[in-house]
């Protein structure tokens, strides 16, 4: 009786592992959507990023203190 139980467990384990492998693809994992810990009133994280035109960088630290900033984040899709 024990042998039967072991065999069933083994077959089930192999089936489960093959299902996992079947589900694997080379797609990158989707980023998790989250609210993060930013709230109204908090200091905005500062950054330096290149411009699309490749003609320089934007340093948020240099703009803060001069004018308000609106940031739109997104992509084509």
């Amino acid at each position: 009786m024990k042998h039967v139980i072991y065999r069933v467990a083994l077959v089930y384990s192999l089936w489960w592992l093959s299902c996992c492998a079947w589900g694997q693809t080379d797609r990158p994992a989707a980023p998790r959507r989250s609210m993060g810990n930013l709230q109204v009133g908090r200091a905005a994280p500062t950054f330096v990023l290149p411009t699309l035109e490749g003609d320089g960088e934007f340093d948020l630290r240099q703009v803060i203190g001069t004018r308000p900033v609106v940031l739109f984040f997104g992509s084509y899709t």
Binding site: R33, M35, V48, L49, P50, T66, V69, L71, F73, T77
Partner: protein, 147 residues
């Protein structure tokens, strides 16, 4: 977005930050037009720049665009994926923090328009709400260029 930029660009800094694709052809829940236009997950900064250029050209956007780095550091710091809006006051504190994603974008766009209109009309930034969080410490999130 473009309308707000054109209306208030003389008083406020606007930047579009191009981040990783939301629904690339080979990515998470691909959209039909990503397959048709051949928009894939970016493998390099050049890929990201090229797709950003296509977006701006195809939608006639003139708003200045920045490219997030391939470590997605700014995206992660702002929890911005798939899309999100923020307004930063002159003192560096966040005035508007949208909910991420398409559900948050439209309401935040309206809030941003109201904020900008008041700023433009009065010449001073709208007060933060009474329940606003304390400013806390400013965090710099991108590596210096020599790293």
């Amino acid at each position: 977005m473009e309308t707000l930029y054109q209306t208030y660009r003389d008083q406020v800094e606007f930047r579009l930050i191009y981040i990783r694709e939301a629904h690339a052809a080979d990515g998470h829940r691909p959209v039909e037009y990503a397959k048709r236009l051949g928009i894939h997950e970016h493998k390099s900064l050049e890929d990201r720049c090229n797709t950003a250029k296509s977006l701006l050209a195809d939608h006639a956007l003139t708003i200045p665009c920045l490219i997030d780095n391939m470590q997605d550091q700014v995206n992660e710091a702002y929890a911005a994926w798939p899309d999100r809006i923020f307004v930063i006051r002159t003192d560096g504190r966040l005035a508007i923090v949208a909910r991420p994603g398409p559900q948050g974008f439209a309401p935040a766009l309206r809030d941003t328009e109201r904020w900008l209109a008041e700023f433009s009309r009065t010449g001073s930034e709208p007060e933060l709400p009474k329940n606003a969080a304390p400013a806390g410490r400013t965090r710099h999130v991108t590596d210096p260029p020599d790293k």
